[in-house]
């Protein structure tokens, strides 16, 4: 037996922040065949007990309940404290043997090749580059580089930055631990325990805003504890940082310097009053940083002779999975699967697999609809109040296109329970063998800026995609529905359809199986299937960032077609300086579309370009993940024809005219998205910290600013929903202080809703988990599942052990 190569699985593990010393126990989610329209059942799974002192797995058990939050009595100034349980995933090492098999690397296997676990070492590099992304100052990058280690200690990921007050100051990004293999648990694995979700701040207060808001003056401003005031305001410009308002406002007359603004803009904690769009569009940074991060874990096996074997995986730390029993309509796994398989569905895919995936998409659609207040998101007046006062996609559309606001569908038909029911009926019919009949009403990714009545009513409706326009599914999801719609009656149907999340056997080259690999002990919340992928900017990762370097030699902006800078290799590749140019076409395919809307003269029959002063041709950039799906599929490693604007166009969108001299054609190589034969996003595309750099700093701020049209099933909006006497639904806003059953529409300044500083201070209390659509911090399983090794079950622990 020889070990040829190593792999770390899963290739992307998602940690989730929380201050409880006890990680969330292991659980999975399953639909209940007897009640398939209900929430997925949270089922406990075998959970490892890691001995705090030895670093080995001392036991395993099946939990009786799954707690997401612990109430710690009497701690803190104000008494009881809520502590959210972090999600702390394990990463397992696999070996590819000389038989070309992918097998778990264990101490026994090491023994077979004459080695022991000390031959294994790990290196972990994570970073938080959120501030750098805004300020463009590399000194603002917070990086933790834990050099090769073989110990079994709990190693702190200390995030240091040149712009911190001193070399000792750091952000605690959490812990990594090489789990000591033992006889019972001989596998080689590492555990990543993310940070607590703390906010760090500047050593001097930020300047005051020239704006004021008498309604918000009484608000108690969060005080970052003294020991976390580590950002040196003399070294860095983050505290007090502000984006030139001309850019923020997309002012066509703006002539100031270019600033590489994020999309959405000003995603950071700003000096009160906030939000900026209600207060003169002035966003002055408070200088906050958070302890979220992403990075790369490397494992090395050093043989007695020969070269060491090394493998990578990625980790990321993000907010809790607030709705553990639901999956979002378009999640990160959908996008990664599209990279792996391409946008098309092979003709020889078994019919039952296609059907199962189509049904799963519809299921996730209704799981998403559940948490959207459809009436509000549709743009209905809220108790007679102007819908323009509330943050919705129709309102966004009205602002962007400078047109009057219109509801998406007829107001009377827009209710959560009614639309939820309709989706559930579609699901029911598909489960009964009907072929999908609605492929035509799915929004194509190049139709996201079609604001005609027909265009904006396409599915998914009322939600935002990664390009800031209406959400589209991935091409692969759409093509799944299309293929399923052509299946013959009854073909591919079964009493139990295959699980769409279990994509075949684990082999060295089955990337999909590697991506979806369920490592022992890992709750489902650690998997890409629970991460959103309509990244505006996202929650767990900003997937847009993975595409910036997909064309060798240039670096694109994550959210549009602007070449932000050239790669150092550009000169060797013979590329001219394209900084500031815009990538218009790849292989003749447009990287942007044109915003169109109804003609006032013939609302349903004709469309017009939705031109504005700052965007006279209504150009709307398209998200990379769908735009480049085909390019990646067919041209990876090859050169493709790219058309750029002939000149730099830093500030404005540019259109394709096709006129001679208006564009520059170059051949660029498409870089591999994954490392060879793995499902690890290539480090050449994103370095540590870059997959999360577009996210909000701190992330808690975004939970206040993002409405449910982004990630309804991940950051819910409409909760405790039930039918009312009127026949429509009633329920609470997730962020409303008191649960009354009367939804409080989010106008950002309403005192009955939690505010920014409440979240900074008490996010673990305020963010209520949703189980079965209702506020709940723990789930009781319906039935036993899995097999623990212990004879008894456990629910808590005060010992030296962690889960």
């Amino acid at each position: 037996m020889k070990i040829r190569e190593l792999r770390i699985l899963p290739p992307l593990a998602i940690g989730r922040l929380g201050s409880s010393p006890h990680p969330v126990v292991n659980y999975t989610i399953d639909d209940d065949p007897d009640q398939p329209l209900e929430f997925r059942e949270i089922r406990p799974q075998k959970t490892f007990v890691v001995d705090e002192s030895s670093g080995e797995i001392s036991d395993s058990f099946i939990p009786e309940e799954i707690a997401f939050k612990d109430l710690i009595k009497g701690e803190g100034k104000e008494g009881d404290v809520d502590m959210i349980r972090p999600v702390a995933p394990f990463l397992e090492v696999f070996a590819i043997t000389d038989d070309d098999e992918l097998v778990p690397l264990t101490s026994e296997l090491l023994d077979e090749v004459g080695l022991d676990p000390s031959a294994i070492s790990w290196r972990v590099r994570v970073a938080n580059r959120k501030v750098t992304r805004r300020t463009e100052d590399e000194g603002d990058a917070v990086t933790a580089d834990l050099d090769w280690f073989s110990n079994h200690e709990s190693n702190i990921l200390e995030g240091h930055s040149p712009n911190f007050i001193n070399d000792e100051a750091y952000i605690d990004f959490g812990r990594v631990r090489y789990i000591r293999p033992n006889k019972r648990y001989p596998e080689i694995r590492l555990r990543f325990t993310p940070a607590k979700g703390l906010i760090y701040g500047p050593n001097h207060p930020p300047p005051k805003s020239p704006e004021s808001d008498p309604f918000m003056e009484k608000e108690e401003i969060y005080d970052v504890p003294e020991n976390r005031l580590i950002y040196d305001t003399k070294k860095g410009k983050w505290c007090g940082f502000a984006v030139a308002s001309g850019i923020d406002n997309a002012d066509p007359d703006y002539s100031g310097p270019f600033m590489n603004e994020t999309m959405p803009p000003s995603l950071f904690a700003s000096v009160p009053p906030a939000p900026p769009w209600l207060h003169g569009n002035i966003a002055i940074s408070r200088g906050y940083l958070d302890d979220a991060c992403d990075g790369i874990v490397e494992v090395r096996l050093t043989p007695k002779s020969g070269d060491p074997l090394i493998a990578n995986a990625r980790i990321t730390a993000g907010p809790p999975a607030i709705v553990p029993d639901s999956l979002f309509l378009r999640n990160l796994a959908d996008d990664l699967d599209q990279v792996i398989h391409g946008p098309d569905i092979p003709t020889d895919e078994p019919e039952e697999v296609t059907r199962a995936r189509a049904i799963d998409i519809v299921r996730r659609a209704f799981e998403t609809v559940r948490f959207l207040n459809i009436a509000v998101m549709n743009g209905n007046p809220v108790n007679g109040r102007d819908p323009l006062d509330f943050d919705t996609m129709p309102a966004e559309e009205a602002f962007d296109t400078q047109r009057l606001m219109r509801p998406v569908v007829s107001e009377r038909t827009a209710d959560t329970l009614a639309i939820l029911g309709l989706h559930q009926q579609v699901f029911t019919a598909l489960r009964g063998g009907a072929a999908p009949w609605f492929a035509d009403v799915l929004r194509r990714p190049d139709e996201v800026a079609d604001f005609t009545n027909r265009g904006r009513r396409k599915m998914p409706a009322m939600m935002c995609g990664a390009d800031g326009n209406y959400l589209a599914l991935t091409w692969r999801q759409i093509n799944t529905i299309v293929k399923a719609s052509n299946l013959r009656l009854g073909s591919g149907m079964a009493k139990k359809l295959p699980n769409p999340l279990h994509p075949g056997p684990l082999t060295p080259r089955n990337r999909s199986a590697q991506l979806h690999y369920v490592a022992a002990g890992n709750p489902v919340a650690s998997r890409p299937v629970t991460a959103v992928s309509n990244c505006t900017p996202g929650l767990e990762v900003d997937f847009r960032a993975a595409w910036r370097r997909v064309f060798a030699g240039i670096e694109l902006r994550e959210w549009d077609n602007l070449v932000i800078r050239m790669d150092p290799s550009a000169g060797d590749r013979g590329l001219p300086d394209l900084s500031g140019h815009r990538l218009l076409r790849v292989e003749g395919q447009f990287m942007m579309t044109q915003a169109i809307g109804p003609s006032p003269a013939d609302v349903n029959g004709q469309s017009v370009v939705l031109a504005t002063d700052d965007n006279p041709h209504g150009i709307a950039p398209l998200e990379w993940s769908n735009s480049l799906a085909n390019i990646l599929r067919h041209h990876t490693g090859k050169k493709v024809t790219c058309d750029f604007t002939a000149e730099a166009v830093w500030l404005d969108q540019a259109r394709w005219t096709g006129e001679d001299g208006s564009y520059l054609t170059l051949e660029l190589e498409v870089q591999p998205f994954f490392e060879a034969d793995t499902a690890v996003i290539s480090p050449a595309l994103a370095q540590p910290g870059e997959l999360t750099q577009g996210l909000c700093s701190p992330w808690q701020n975004d939970y206040r600013e993002c409405s449910c049209y982004y990630w309804a099933a991940a950051r819910p909006d409409y909760v405790n929903v039930e039918p009312s006497a009127s026949g429509a639904s009633r329920g609470d806003n997730w962020l409303q202080r008191e649960r009354t059953g009367n939804y409080i529409a989010d106008d950002y300044v309403d005192q009955d809703l939690w505010h920014y500083d409440d979240l900074f201070k008490s996010w673990e209390t305020i963010l209520k988990f949703q189980i079965g659509g209702r506020d709940a911090d723990r789930a009781l399983p319906h039935r036993d599942s899995g097999n623990g090794d212990s004879t008894s079950t456990q629910t808590g622990g005060e010992s030296e052990q962690v889960y």
């Binding site: 007897d34 009377r412 038909t413 559930q424 009926q425 009964g432 044109q594 026949g727």
Partner: protein, 507 residues
């Protein structure tokens, strides 16, 4: 259709003959209308004609659905299955468009202040407005001929003129030489005189009566009914061509996709426009109407007929449909020993239960549909409430019917060993009249849901052995439907509680 006497139908025939003569170039004063039947005002008569229109649209829609569901089966080659699937989609598209016609006619009834209706006779149904009895039957060359005739733009003399000059080798020549003689011959087998009335005739008379202000004065119209009428926004579900792109006047009309016309009418002009629209969609004779125009139902059915003939030329025994029965009924709706003439009893117990479930959901659909028109007048039209919720449930029931029909056509008619299969009965409920009291309407919904749950439970009960002969997807479907009904029952209870606490009034 005994309720419509020869006396009330006479004006339709007179008017039709006049129109045909006018089409043929005779010097006929088409504007001069026949006398109205005695004992009726003109308004009353138009309302009655519109009721006939509704019944015909409903009947045709159900008939087309049945024919579409019958298509396919393991006896077909893969290529043939694909082709037949296209036909199925085409016929379903026409059925969806008929739904739009039905709603448009309800809107006209609202404008005239008449009662809306979703009623029709059970099949077989011999209507004087139809040259042959309405039957639920698998798609055959003859039944296709009937559908072509139903949507035909005039009589055979008219068709003769239409295609007389067709150049040899063209589609039009094929229709002249093969299809039209076949149609004529088929019709003659059904009716003594080839003077039967295609569906559009009713609308032509309604149209011409409405143009006369002296017969239908403006005071007879109810423009205030406009908010209560069905709109495309509520019911169209995206079935409409895309608007033209900027700078172009070209709308992409795709004949494979439904273009649902639901016109609302607040004025006489809008009412006349609505009639022209639904007539045009049915009977436009143009086989290739060119850009921006869709192919009519007549032309689309004709195309299927031509393709059918092509397949028969290749193989004379070729049959696109499953062995589903003509006018299926169950023991719960008739005496199985002595079923109504022309019907076929689904005798296999499991299939009969599924058929009863189909009927139950069909009833739910029709009850919701009727209820939504009443709710339109008693709840706030601009807010989400019971009206919108009921509207969505109607679509949900359409999906259920589609799924159950798909299961039924693969289930035994009499026994698993017998190749004959069952089919969806589309049984009309004993009444579509809603109770006078709103509370009782919701109790009716509750009863329908309860009955559906009872049937699902019975089908799932291992003691009844129903699942053995049910396709695999039947069981998960039933469990999902049970789950759905449980939620629906909770919703109905919430509304009922509100009504009870509110003195029977909607909140």
């Amino acid at each position: 259709m005994a309720k419509y006497t020869a006396q009330v139908l006479k004006p339709v025939d007179e008017h039709r003959r006049k129109r045909l003569r006018a089409k043929e170039g005779a010097d006929v004063e088409i504007k001069e209308l026949p006398d109205k039947p005695e004992g009726m005002t003109w308004r009353d008569y138009v309302i009655m004609l519109l009721h006939i229109g509704c019944e015909l649209e409903h009947g045709l829609m159900a008939q087309y659905l049945y024919a579409a569901y019958s298509l396919g089966g393991d006896h077909l080659s893969k290529e043939d299955q694909e082709e037949v699937q296209d036909w199925q989609e085409l016929i379903l598209t026409v059925a969806r468009e008929e739904m739009g016609h039905l709603l448009t006619v309800q809107n006209l009834l609202c404008l005239l202040g008449g009662p809306v209706t979703f009623d029709r006779e059970n099949f077989p149904w011999d209507s004087p407005f139809y040259p042959f009895p309405f039957n639920f039957e698998p798609l055959t060359r003859e039944s296709l001929a009937a559908y072509v005739f139903a949507e035909m733009p005039g009589n055979f003399e008219f068709l003769d003129k239409l295609y007389r000059d067709a150049r040899e080798g063209t589609d039009r020549a094929h229709i002249r030489d093969i299809e039209v003689p076949f149609l004529e011959e088929t019709m003659k087998n059904w009716v003594e005189k080839a003077d039967a009335r295609p569906v559009g005739e009713v609308y032509h008379l309604v149209h011409d009566i409405l143009t006369k202000r002296d017969l239908i004065p403006s005071t007879d119209l109810r423009p205030d009914s406009y908010p209560f009428q069905s709109s495309w926004d509520d019911w169209g579900r995206g079935y409409r061509p895309n608007p033209s792109r900027p700078g172009s006047d070209e709308t992409k009309v795709d004949d494979n996709k439904a273009n649902i016309i639901i016109e609302r009418a607040a004025t006489r002009t809008e009412a006349l426009y609505a009639i022209k629209e639904i007539c045009g969609q049915g009977e436009n004779p143009d086989l290739h109407p060119g850009r921006n125009h869709e192919t009519s139902h007549y032309a689309r059915f004709l195309e299927v007929l031509r393709n059918y003939d092509r397949k028969l030329n290749e193989s004379p025994d070729w049959n696109p449909a499953r062995q589903v029965p003509v006018n299926p009924v169950t023991a719960s709706t008739c005496d199985p020993e002595n079923p109504p003439t022309g019907t076929t009893v689904i005798s296999w117990p499991a299939s009969a239960k599924w058929a009863d479930l189909f009927n139950c959901r069909y009833r739910m659909l029709l009850t919701f549909l009727t209820h939504t028109y009443r709710l339109a007048r008693i709840v706030d039209p601009d807010e989400p409430n019971t009206r919108g919720a009921v509207m969505h449930r109607i679509f949900g029931e359409m999906y259920n019917l589609k799924a159950i029909a798909g299961i039924l056509v693969r289930m035994p008619l009499v026994s698993p060993d017998d190749p004959r299969r069952a089919g969806p009965p589309f049984r009309m409920p004993y009444s579509l009249d809603l109770p006078s009291d709103e509370i009782d309407c919701w109790r009716l919904h509750r009863d329908n849901i309860a009955y559906s749950r009872e049937l699902c439970r019975a089908l799932l009960d291992p003691a009844n052995d129903c699942l053995d002969s049910t396709p695999d997807e039947g069981e998960p479907f039933l469990r999902t439907l049970c789950n759905w009904d449980k939620k629906a029952a909770a919703w109905v209870e919430a509304v009922l509680d509100g009504l009870k606490g509110n003195g029977g009034h909607c909140s």
